[in-house]
Amino acid sequence: MASSVPILAIRDLRAHFHTRRGIIKAVDGISFEIQKGETLAIVGESGSGKTVSQLSYLGLLPMPPLRIAGGQAFFHDTDLIKAGKDKLRAVRGDSISMIFQEPMTSLNPYLKIGTQLIEPLCLHRKLSKKEAWKVASESLEKVGIADAARTMHSYPHEFSGGMRQRVMIAMAITTKPEVLIADEPTTALDVTIQAQILELLGELKKETGMSIILITHDLGIVASVADKVLVMYGGKMMEEATAHELFSASSHPYTTALLKSTPRVDIPQEVLPVIGGSPPDLSKLSPGCPFYDRCALRLDACKETAPKPCSLSPSHRSFCHLETVQ
């Protein structure tokens, strides 16, 4: 799988917020690659920098306070970080689309759904309004909205969160993007709707061959849809692996703790263990591993020196001193 050239390759991305209270290193040295048709899951607790890791290289965060302190984000041959605003805008919504964490507020309440749906098509495909309206309606049907024609003429507040997320997905796929970034697309939704949305994403992927970056903190979702996984904590990489490797042979203590705190169908559990302590203050990180304070297996070295990546297989790397010690 790793043989071909990646569509998107992020290398050592550092995205820091410069605020009055100090520098918040929301993303600090993240790397990942994604091939055509692959699904990459990014997991981690709330505040670990998952959203920022994506929005930053797409230029979707206000600068200031954000500053890209380093790294590259190659989309094919273009480094999106060095690319100008216009180049970036040409990519956004055309070849890289996004679905956001907040379905209730991500659509403009003042505009008809149709008006919002046709925008990417008119902008990037240069379709006339009429043609775009037709394509957009089809895209609504594709995401399972039965009454597409009427929906196009409705306003967002007439729909539930699940329906709005479907509309968001329809909007993201109208231009047939190469990469779809789905930032916790189901977190705000009911459990039953969650399954439907994930199933829908799976079908769309099969149909269009697009790559998906799926942000989630639900490892159950990862197991069912992801090809490979990146585990983040405190803005840093903890572990990366194929989904199979992660579930069968996770290495990092943080990943292990995450796995333990996830409900499993195969092993009945009365009480789920939770990870003790709380995520670190990203403006006061020591040079060592961010998980140090909460890690059950910590060593002295972990506090002061950042762990080097340790390759466990060509596709499996863990950022932990334990691996280097053994």
Binding site: R92, F100, L123
Partner: protein, 306 residues
């Protein structure tokens, strides 16, 4: 929502209106002094016939009923001070002038205010923002009796391009309406900027950026509709304020509007003119706010369905 809400608004109007009439009626009657106090010593017979002519010899409650009865026929009564003129005539003469001045001023205020506010919000904390916003501080702080003479000095006397007083040609309209509208333009620019800045932080603006739209496209298509709502809700009070608060401007530029009548009549205890003008002002306030509610329903789809 929609029609029923608006209908409710209208039906509450009548009782409120009668309440207002009652309060104003008794307030001016109980204020010290009367309409004929300042006349030279008048023979008692003439005084009596004057009082009889204006029903001042009747008990107060009867005067009140007479006034209400007249009012129900849209008759605001005779002026106490302007011999042989009715209040209806006086208002019919002066109000169109004030209305025209007010509308010109509102036009300026909207044009300048919306453009300046949108410009400021397009690039916050740049000179594009600082420049219009410093002007707006000036506009809010400087009273009309400073702005008016200042404009007269610059455009009327130094540059000599616009007339300094009068109300005949269209050129006469420019300086007074700018003077009157400037503070409103300043305030509207703040509202506009504030509204747009608020919208900028919304999730759906990030969605619009993620689609690849440019900042200008986002401003016009996605932000303006919601960002202008604070300005829209201010339109009612603004127009009402412009129509009823033009006194100083009308005086500076010697314009025969209603504001001057109002003050003059209050000082002279010209009861019927005070009443008539106040009721007109109140109706203006009501109508302006009502129109804004209708506009709001039109602009924000969420209000329409609630």
């Amino acid at each position: 929502m929609g029609l029923r809400y608006l209908f409710g608004r209208v039906s509450i109007m009548l009782p409120v209106f009668i309440g207002v009439i009652t309060v104003i009626f008794f307030m001016i009657r109980f204020a010290p002094g009367g309409p004929f106090d300042k006349e030279k010593i008048v023979p008692p017979e003439i005084m009596e016939s004057l009082n009889a002519q204006y029903h001042l010899d009747q008990p107060l409650w009867k005067q009140y009923l007479i006034y209400l009865a007249d009012l129900s026929r849209f008759d605001l009564g005779p002026s106490f001070k302007h011999a042989n003129r009715t209040v209806n005539e006086l208002i019919a003469e002066a109000f169109p002038v004030s209305l025209e001045l007010g509308l010109w001023s509102l036009g300026w205020a909207l044009l300048i205010g919306v453009l300046a506010g949108a410009m400021a919000a397009l690039k916050p904390n740049s000179w594009l923002d600082y420049l219009p916003m410093s002007f707006s501080v000036l506009g809010i702080c400087l009273p009309t009796f400073v702005i008016g003479p200042l404009l007269v000095l610059i455009f009327g006397l130094w540059m000599g391009v616009l007339p300094v007083a009068g109300w005949d040609s269209w050129q006469d309209r420019v300086l007074p309406s700018l003077t009157l509208g400037f503070a409103y333009a300043a305030f509207i620019s703040r509202l506009m900027r504030g509204g747009l800045m608020e919208i900028r932080t919304q999730d759906f603006i990030r969605t619009a950026r993620a689609k690849g739209l440019s900042e200008v496209q986002i401003l016009f298509k996605h932000s303006l509709r919601g960002g202008i709502l604070p300005v829209v809700s201010f339109l009612g009070p603004a127009l009402a304020g412009l129509l009823t608060g033009a006194l100083v401007t009308e005086t500076i530029f010697n314009i025969p509007g209603l504001g001057r009548f109002f003050i003059e009549s209050a000082l002279n205890r010209d009861y019927t003119v005070v009443m008539g003008t106040s009721l007109l002002y109140f109706s203006i306030l009501f109508v302006c706010n009502f129109v804004v509610d209708v506009l709001y329903v039109f602009l924000d789809p969420r209000v329409r369905y609630e």
